[in-house]
Amino acid sequence: MYVGKPVKRVDAFDKVTGRARFTDDLCDKSAYIARIVHSTIAHGKVVSFDLAEARKVKGVVKILTCFDLREKHYFGTPGHPYVLDPAQRDVEDRLVLTDTVRFWGDDIAAVVAENEVAAEQALRLIKVQYEEYPFVLDVQEAMKDGAPQLHAAFPNNILEHTGIREGDYAKAITEPGLIKVEGWYETPTMQHCHIENHICYAEMKQNRIHLVSSTQVPHVVRRVVGQALGIDWGRIRVVKPYIGGGFGNKQDILYEPLCAWLCMQVGGHLVKLDVPREETFVCNRVRHGFRGHIISWVRPDGTFAARKLEAFSDQGAYASHGHAICAVEMAAFRQTYPCENVEIDGWTVFTNKPVAGAMRGYGVPQIMWALESHTDEIAAALGQDPIAFRRRNLMPLGYYDMFGHRKLAADSYNQCLSKAMEAIGYDRKREMYRHQTGNIRRGTGAAVFWFDTGTWPFLLETSSCRMAMNQDGSMQLQLGETEIGQGADTVFSQMAADTVGVPIEKVHIVSAQDTDVAPFGTGAYGSRQTYSAGHSIRKTGLQLKQKILEKAEKLLQISSADLNIVDGEIIHIADGAVLMDLGTLVKEVQYSRSGSCHLTAESTAHITAAPYTLGCTVAEVEVDIALCKVRLLNIVNCHDAGVLINPALAEAQVHGGMSMGIGYGLSEKLVFDEKTGRPVNNNLLDYKLSTFMDHPSLRAEFVENREVTGPFGAKGLGEPPVASVAPAIGNAVYCATGVRLKKLPMDPPNLYQAFCEAGLICDERRVDA
């Protein structure tokens, strides 16, 4: 059995030797190079281009502008499965090039050249005339009457507003003796920063478009490129090789439609579109900035009487995933600490900023920053221990979600909190860090997360799998679900090996998805793949096994019910005797002159469940008050992701999420110039993602409650590790200093402001204590 074992990654050897090929490594050198002309204003209309000088550059093949777009096929970019009901589809508001500029960096023209130097030179010589409009960068400013309008169809820039009303909030807050705790919380725009930028290339062959792309969702890319170009989906072939990370950015359809369109404009010649890092920050997708207002009415005994949330989600210039992120925030608020009387309003609002889309956590890191900071504030207001307060109010065992039709079947929160607290010595340290004075102070803090894996019932959950036996008893394994670094290919191989009964070395997974041959699957997002693909692997594996055993029955004249496949051999269940090895069986069947048959199986699993995955972070920090710096000393995450298919890879996944959470908490923010709307730190030097030196040793713990609906008892893990890190750090900073941070990141500028407001330091930055 391989499930539950720390099997080595099936792609590791290729990746440590440089044999793993990524998109740019595969592109032929004959490719034309495409570069995009981005707007240098935040809002307005392109009036005209002066291309005369740019066209003179030697090596320029063609320059195409938004005015060359004859047919306008609007398309939506989220990597979601297609929705048959038009009313439920994602907003279709993008064109491959646009004459209406909605953010600094919008795509208005493109250069196709024989080489990178010519493309770059031409890019610099293109002159653009604009009609400029006022722009708006702040989400609440954008909602006001008279604010600059981005899309005619969305008055006051509100992409969507939804409200939840449960019980009677207005009445509940009149209960005598209640304590009101209120706060505003804010998180910044953040970028995924996968180390491989988005890149794709396209060529026409046999009157079809062949695309190779660094994407998480190849089958979705095929559909959206078809929609964007107005051509039949079957005329598009998408290949997804190894990709250098995605984290949700590559769950959007990025520049594949533009690249394909450019290819068609130059006679189908091979065109490569490799996005520079600076453009990746601005012109791909970002994490939604968030502002939240929470009011809690609590009784002195530490129970909730009523709760209220107003959430403002900064969509940027185009809809992309849109309100779905805000909807997740609202659900997380409502379910993490259930309360009878609730008022929740969420607004997703357009601003003249980079487009926000999916990013690891999908709204949960934002709401957890607000919610878990707020929860600590409530405990402080009541004079109660923040962990005890949480344990009293967290989603209880047996909690039933009417919408998702699921019941919380394990006491994950309490188990995870206990394990993480013990790992860090929380209680002892909390006691130790009382009554500190001086400039350097330490503290510990905890925060939980709520996460909803998969996309059911909002969206279709489907995964297909194909297996084919080889003559040596080995098998090919193919899925539409993608390896993006998380280790999917390895856990898929483990599950296939166990289901069919073959050694893992005999499972040959086809890592790359080619939509011409790969079975249909929607790809990597929503922490869905182990769960969804696990179901299709199990279903297909059992079919294949049954076919093999039926053949064995004929060959061996023993009932298939008495046979099993173990370690690549047909055995007699009664005594475990080895009767035949799989290779012999496959050869007998495949080359049979009386009934040749290729042993294959293929099936689709349609999934109608989506389990919660829950857990927490406990952090310990040291704060230098005068320097306004937080140093992370210790951090541990504890997760209940069901049975771990591969504990080593699960641990590695948690490390990566924690790292992203540390950056979110302490240093990352995309900053915009208020005067122009231009991003000012769109590079890896000025945008501070955490480095080797910014981390203490990261510790990942697990509790493994078997997920009853899951394949092998497993459920999703990929995204949640990022979710509770920042609030745990924030709560530790509060423990150390008594100052409550409301705004991420907790970097020196924000800490300085907070410490000044709290009177901890004065303007001369002298320590008050």
Binding site: K15, G18, F22, H194, F247, F692, M693
Partner: protein
Amino acid sequence: MPDQYKLIRCTVNGREKEAMVDVRASLADLLRNDFRLTSVKKGCEVGECGACNVLIDGESFNSCIYLAVWADGKDILTLEGLEGPDGKISDIQQAFIDEAAVQCGFCTPGAIMSAVEILNEGRLLSDEEIRVRMSGHLCRCTGYENIVRAVKKTMLARLSQ
């Protein structure tokens, strides 16, 4: 432009090479495009991420901001050069596999090359020193944790021999 191209001679992964290089080209371009050593990854092209790191005369450099013409007369080692002629991989490559220090694999080649530089010094480093020495590499997948473990494990194994 008569001075646009220049002939350079260098050693790449133990073999002597000659190439006419565009004087504007980076070493990363030369290695990727001319020699097809595609382990040399481009993540930023301005020396921020470390994905393109190679050893030049034993020292780890961002090959994206090192001009190809400067490589004249130099001894260059890329990830491909760590593999033996029989396909056997080095201890640090094996440690990256064993410690699950590889995820998407895009920063991996550069990170391994810096690890080779550190390990070849044959010194005992603290975790903190390993982190400082490796800090020129950005990784979004691993949280660096297992990379530190892989470097440390290999360092201790070599020193105990």
